[in-house]
Symmetry: C2
Subunit: 127 residues, 2 copies
């Protein structure tokens, strides 16, 4: 897999990556159908983006007859990690703590999930 240090997917590219991560591999048609559920987007627009991502080596492509199967070349967690770091820096001036506090305070997290987070914290503390 790719070393991700310098790559920053654009917003649209990230949307496509999400679909690819969920489906494993997909055609342009499938990706476009998925995106169309939540927004207006033309087939050729999606196609073009995926071609650009291919050039950037964010995805790979396998040709089967006339159909092209695309796969993400960057891992979901690694990408999230990378974007998270950027986001913390830009939005919370580097304070991961602040981000966590605000998320817990204002986003939707269930009781079970809170329990799970507590466990994670303890496992970190006891390391």
């Amino acid at each position: 897999m790719k070393n991700y240090s310098e790559i920053k997917p654009t917003d649209s590219e990230l949307e496509i990556l999400q679909v690819l991560w969920q489906l494993g591999k997909a055609t342009v048609r499938q990706v476009n159908d998925e995106l169309s559920k939540t927004k207006d987007v033309g087939y050729t627009t999606t196609l073009k983006l995926m071609q650009i991502m291919l050039e950037k080596n964010i995805v790979s492509r396998l040709e089967d007859g006339r159909v092209h199967w695309y796969t993400a070349l960057v891992e979901e967690e690694q990408t999230q990690q990378f974007l998270l770091g950027k986001f913390v820096d830009a939005t919370f001036r580097g304070s991961a703590m602040k981000l966590v506090m605000q998320t817990l305070g204002n986003q939707t997290v269930s009781k079970d999930e809170l329990e799970e987070i507590k466990k994670l914290i303890e496992s970190i503390e006891n390391k």
Copy 2:
């Protein structure tokens, strides 16, 4: 203060907002000096951005002689909250939980901070 529902500061605008939030109010010169500490940026570039932000009503301006004092018109927490929501959706498909787990696992959070987070969780649970 502004209703923030539809405004999305660009990356550069957010950098400027960070400076304004920290200084309370500032001149273009001050903001540019601050930004220059971490990146190359021309005075007129910063000026132009701040003028654009004025048009968008993201900041306000007070003229004192020839100097213009700028202030953020959007609140820090509110903006962070808004950007956080977008980020969770785009990067973690809406799962705040996943974001918190990854942050705790991989970003730098001190023991004291972990304690504080635990306390917050408990206060949420006991509510």
